[in-house]
Amino acid sequence: MNLKSSLAIALTLVAAPVLAQQSTINVALNADIRSTNPGVNRDDNTDAVVLHMVEGLVGYRENGAVAPLLAESIAVSPDGLTYTFTLRKGVKFHNGAVMTSADVLWNWNRYMDAKTDWRCRAEFDGRTGMKVTSVDAPDPSTFVMKLEKPSAMFLDTMARTDCAMVAIIHKDSVKADGSWDRPIGTGPFTLGEWRRGEFVSLKRFDGYVSPPGEQRDGYVGRKRALVPEVKFLSIADGATIKAGLMSGALHVADIPDSDVPEMKKIPNLEVMSAPSATKHAFLFQTRDALLGDVRMRQAIAAALDLDQIVAHTSNELGKTNNSAIYVSSPYYSDVQRQRYSQDLAKVKKLLAEAGYKGQPIKLVANKRSTVPSFPAAVVAQAMLQAAGINSEIEVLEWATQLDRYAKGNFQMMSFSYSARIDPAQSYNQFSGPKDAFPSKAWDSRRADELIEKATLVGDPAERQKLFDELHKLMLAEAPLIFLYNQVDTAGVSRKLRGFAPWVAGKPRLWEVSFAN
């Protein structure tokens, strides 16, 4: 045996325990989580991890509809003002305590306390329209919430992942002084260890009581933890993630669209994708001297071959969608399919009518690998130039771009909106008065009226009419151009069974196991 062989055997023997941890699913995150406190000091990665440990009264189903989670049933009074949640029986916290309505009440009061810094407090205290006027726990399995006025978005807001589904945690999750300790929730996994900058390890909760259902269904349905441990590793470098997937050290990781063809050739990997509700768009500053003219915005929309932009930036995975509603939503009607089409003759006519004399249009973009901001801007710029519209790209680092977005300080911007499942919430992301909210792209009184109505009306048919009218209005006024919904693509080890990406764009590791 030569020296090289001996060294190889020795290293492999020593490395074996490192390389083969079949009881642990290793998932890559592109950055560390911010905290373990549900809905407080959070981002997308944080929500993804924390929602394995905690649950709310309601959650999203696979198609984005809201369904009971810790609640068994929800009764709404005829006037739409009172919501009565009947809790599921026998649900236990990670410390073994049984969940009751007293816990729900304690959680609600904690969330609505300004000291908690809950991200969604403004959504429920009247600052953004909806106001919960009272809450009550008349018996251990009943929780009642009363609203100031009816809201079609109440349950959807309760289910929002950035609100941590209004997670119900045990009182011992916070220290005696009220500061955060660790999540003692009701989810299928408990917190094992969090090493900042390295990993978060979640352990299976053996006392977990799964919601009813024969299969996994979004955040509801069957939610059994089938492996003893899930480890979320913080890995910032895309090339390292790729190497981790190829070597088998990682079992699940998001991969950029550009890597899909290469990853598909790797025999031990399966590439899975699903459209999410995240929206990529070109925003216009409608108060800009040049782009304030709707004919200029329409000219730009007509200058772009959107299918080509989407095919290029998503590596042919995405599908053009000019609607604010994601494609698998029940509200995605034929009207929502109406879209802009490239028409160079129309561009010429509109530019002439608007008196365009070749003034440059600055298109702001960033180079984050997780969004198509820059590649979309590059292709669009070429198309605009070809159509006689002088455009320049200004590349900014993300924090700077976000600052400019918040101040409305741009002419045109290649931007991505985070996922919102309910259409009214989706419209709320970009529509509103610019004087109060400079980041809003669309400042239209009629649009605001329609959105306001959609937040109050519960009847789906009635809401559909409102959303359809909004879509037509948006296409006509062109305050922004939605390109497509993000396609979440994950490289998944063939050793795993049961993993699937979905519309919320967050990994779920329950009902996932190793094959044999």
């Binding site: 090493r195 390295e198 390292t240 190497a243 680092e397 976000l402 400019r404």
Partner: protein
């Protein structure tokens, strides 16, 4: 010696103060708001104002500086906006991880590169010299991130000898900890060999041309004695200075290597904090880096008399 060290430390204080002020001002000149980043694309002005007030970002800049500097004088670098952790322990924890990679890599690089540089100078223009110089130039030219990825590909993916992602501390599991450190150390080691070898060769060449070397040879001393006893001691000064600069630089952050090999070190902490506009951590890290740089170079200066008796602390 003690007086010299104290004087040098006192001289470093104005430097550190200038660093503190510059970092504080410069990081705030860059557009971007940590509160905005925390709330994301849906931040409404009321929530943003609340969060800014809670983080103390609504105060005037001089007030913010006064509070931060007052705490700094008491040894408190503040609290991370992102993780809410105290900054000083966070830096100490991350620095220890970076330091073990850097110190081992530089030590091995010195052990290989210094003798190789001296030998290359001794055999100037020979095939050995050309090979060593060529190799050093090649190693110096390869960017560390690419070298790291090549090592990952070869040892991690092709041979499957070493783990590709993750980190285990040596204190927790010595064997696994070492396995995780092999590639990052090898990456830095290979890169620094190039830097140190070239300097060792150049400074030895300079000394070998001096009259006293000719005189030593004329006295009939062996080449080994000429080289190690007479040439090396005098030629090592510039290389030693360079080693100090290299150490100071690397201890301040090896963000690229740490990112490629998923090591939770100081460099990655600094880069992540800049992207998140985590002001207290950025300020703390940069101040710590400046302090480390000053300290390492002080130690280097204090070591000069060991190699060259003509140099004294006085």
């Amino acid at each position: 010696m003690l007086r010299f060290a104290l004087t040098r430390i006192l001289m470093a204080l104005p430097t550190l103060f200038i660093v503190a002020v510059s970092v504080f001002v410069l990081i705030r000149l860059i557009p971007g708001d940590p509160a905005q980043l925390m709330l994301g694309d849906l931040a409404d002005p009321a929530s943003l104002a609340d969060l800014r007030a809670r983080l103390g970002l609504d105060r005037s800049l001089p007030m913010q500086f006064a509070i931060w500097f007052g705490n700094l004088l008491q040894g408190d670098l503040g609290q991370s906006i992102n993780s809410q952790q105290a900054v000083l322990p966070l830096i100490a924890q991350r620095f220890f991880i970076s330091a073990q990679v850097v110190l081992v890599a530089v030590l091995f690089a010195c052990l290989v590169a210094v003798p190789a540089g001296v030998i290359a100078a001794w055999r100037q223009n020979s095939s050995l010299d050309l090979t060593l110089v060529g190799l050093a130039t090649l190693l110096l030219s390869i960017p560390t991130f690419w070298l790291g990825l090549l090592l990952l590909l070869f040892f991690g993916l092709k041979l499957e000898w070493l783990p590709v992602v993750g980190y285990v501390s040596i204190g927790e599991d010595t064997t696994r900890g070492i396995l995780y450190l092999v590639m990052p150390i090898l990456t830095l080691f290979l890169h620094e060999i190039g830097v140190i070898l070239r300097m060792a060769r150049a400074s030895t060449l300079e000394v070998l041309r001096l009259d006293y070397i000719t005189h030593a040879r004329a006295k009939g001393l062996s080449e080994g004695a000429v080289l190690w006893r007479h040439a090396f001691k005098n030629a090592f000064g510039p290389t030693w200075t360079l080693i100090g600069l290299v150490l100071g630089n690397l201890l301040g952050g090896i963000a690229v290597v740490e990112t490629v090999f998923t090591i939770p070190g100081l460099g990655r902490l600094l880069v992540d904090s800049i992207f998140a506009r985590d002001y207290p951590v950025i300020q703390g890290c940069l101040l710590f880096v400046a302090f480390t740089y000053v300290l390492v170079n002080l130690v280097i200066d204090l070591c000069y008399p060991i190699f060259d008796p003509r140099v004294t602390a006085e």
